[in-house]
Symmetry: C2
Subunit: 212 residues, 2 copies
DNA sequence: GACTAAGTACCTACCAGTCGGTATGGAAAT
DNA sequence: ATTTCCATACCGACTGGTAGGTACTTAGTC
């Protein structure tokens, strides 16, 4: 806890970056060292194995993202439905830069390691579920406030939103770029609006540019 | 074209199975040989490299799936919207067995190799896009027949459907099992019904059992 | 006997992880 | 104040196992 911004955090940040780009298995320890500008000796001083780094990177990611979303402005809305729609709009704003810069570390990793590394999979699953729970809460409040009695659960809708995002990232990586994510978020906006009987106004005006 | 069911096809089928389970990078050539009950000598007789096998496996997969969906009963419906909803219902019926048995080879692979192997990525992308185009056609016909003038395109809705499936598979792998896919397909059914102004009847009666 | 299929043994690059060692800095001892 | 001592951070050559790929051999078939 002494100098909390040095080699160790640099390694974690490098890990997030490289793994998001190349995937977990294809990432070599030395790739991360090179990215962080650190030697292998230093790496194994801070992490006892590659898996240990993986767990660390996931934890780092979870800390980073939960902070990011906790601070996001859409929470300020009084109407819980506006918070849900605000979340969807906010996800569009995050689509900056190249594909590996806006995709999700957890989704990328869990695919590769779900059968090979139980503890890593668990760690990823916890991060994913935690984020699902965040949005789920707003959805549940919206359901209550709008007096809906749906044949779907708040959790299932929250999972749908995350599934759409994860699936969009796969298509983005297949060559379609950020445009798929935007389009899919528009569909999500429309769906949620329909479920809650909101007028189907044009989605939030900004970000109509597609990247292909 | 001589003996079209021997070592080569066994290797391809083994490749599909193992890659869907462990991912592409974590799959060793010898894993595939073991699964196919064949030696490495035979492997390199039929494929000049691991990448060559990857391309072959993708082609094999594309042939298999396009045949599967071409023969599927939902095509018989006269109303194109029924075909679209039939497709969604049909995807539920495919959710048999363990997680790696119903997930998509292309989605799994494209994540891992999008940055490392352009020709494999291209091959996966073609397969994905081809399937998108299939459903897109029915959607487009439905839009025309129902006289809709939507602010979304048939392609974007078709991509959404595939994105939801791919994203569901990620969550299924994270530990949630087939139940997520079912729930998400129910949401898709509801969304498409809403878009086309169909009464929101309960989704197709079968398959209400969740696997968790 | 020519050609394809398949098996065995081997080679080699690569990479996670090790190990002996050096720098630094602060606290305790003198 | 200076020396001693130890812990933490860091370095980079080396290793050992693994896995992709090759070379050569053998079995079957027209």
């Amino acid at each position: 806890m002494t100098s909390q911004h040095s080699s160790k955090t640099r390694l974690l940040e490098a890990a997030v970056k490289v793994v998001r780009t190349k995937g977990y298995n294809a990432t070599r320890v030395e790739d991360i060292c090179a990215e962080a500008g650190v030697t292998k000796g230093s790496f194994f001083h801070h992490f006892k194995s590659k898996e240990d780094l993986g767990l660390g990177a996931v934890a780092h990611w979870n800390a980073f993202t939960s902070d990011l979303f906790a601070r996001a402005p859409y929470h300020e809305a009084d109407d819980p439905l506006d918070r849900v729609l605000g979340y969807i709009a906010y996800r569009k704003e995050l689509l900056e830069g190249d594909v590996p810069e806006f995709t999700c570390l957890l989704g990328t990793m869990v695919q590769e390691i779900h059968d090979t590394d139980p503890s890593l999979r668990e760690s990823c699953a916890r991060g994913l579920d935690g984020h699902v729970a965040t949005v789920e809460q707003d959805i549940a409040e919206a359901v209550a406030q709008y007096g809906l009695e749906p044949d779907w659960t708040a959790e299932s809708l929250s999972v749908l939103i995350q599934s759409v995002l994860q699936g969009s990232f796969i298509f983005a990586k297949s060559g379609k770029g950020a445009g798929v994510v935007t389009d899919n978020l528009d569909h999500l906006h429309r769906y949620v609006s329909l479920l809650f009987g909101r007028p189907a106004r044009a989605p939030s005006a900004s970000a109509r540019a597609h990247s292909q």
